[in-house]
């Protein structure tokens, strides 16, 4: 039997739901005993991915965004998926400062922030089908070290 704990969320791609998505994932990860900073990191990464699905995947139209989270040991996995237009060139999209919507005041730093705050970011996309962003973060790494040193 797999030793994982999973949750799945489906919600409308409305800007007002961005906060809801952040808080939901934050609530789910509480069982890992994260520091405030770890929670902030994950919330920021989730915010970036959800915003991308909304603005880019769906071009602001109201469709469904799917979030799936699971925990394996001390590692949190977060998957954010949309069934929108897909990314033409994933490598280019993940370049810092690159954006296809400069007129919307987009900084082009979404992926850069995700990569900075999570241990790993994996992107799968198909034009016309949708995009999947999978990120993971091992929680409590820093604190383990601290305990060892204090002994």
């Amino acid at each position: 039997m797999k030793n994982t704990n999973e949750m799945e969320l489906v919600f409308d791609s409305r800007p007002v739901n961005e906060g809801f998505a952040r808080v939901s994932v934050a609530a789910f990860m509480t069982q890992l005993n994260p520091t405030l900073e770890e929670v902030s990191d994950v919330k920021t990464a989730v915010s970036e991915a959800v915003t991308n699905a909304l603005i880019h995947g769906y071009d602001g139209k109201v469709k469904k965004i799917m979030i799936r989270c699971w925990i394996e040991g001390q590692t949190l996995y977060v998957e954010i998926r949309d069934e929108g237009k897909g990314i033409e060139n994933v490598e280019k999209a993940m370049e810092p400062l690159f954006t296809t919507r400069p007129e919307l005041d987009r900084s082009g730093m979404g992926f850069a922030f995700m990569e900075a705050f999570m241990d790993n970011v994996y992107v799968e996309s198909e034009l016309g089908k949708g995009t999947l962003v999978r990120m993971k973060k091992t929680i409590g790494k820093g604190r383990e070290l601290w305990t060892t040193q204090s002994l």
Partner: protein, 104 residues
Amino acid sequence: MEYQIEENSLTIFLPAELDHCNAEQVRKRADMLIEHNHIKYVIFDFANTNFMDSSGIGVLMGRYKLVYLVGGEVWAVNANERIRKILKMSGVTKIIQMFEEEKQ
């Protein structure tokens, strides 16, 4: 959105969370005020802000693009440690001014 105008200076008191949703509202209001009041200096007050993602960076950068043409400046003030970390990470601190209160 709470704001304050003094001559050609606009201070915007940002909300608790500056994400894409709130950034849109801030952007629209700010641009209207900047144009209508010939604003040269835009000051973003982060005193109430405890969350910001790259959408917030976009708001700062976008307003800078507006005012630098008239020789203006954009300031970020009263940012807490987390917000300052995000501002520095994004590199936006190269073009906007930061003001940090001396803690006693």
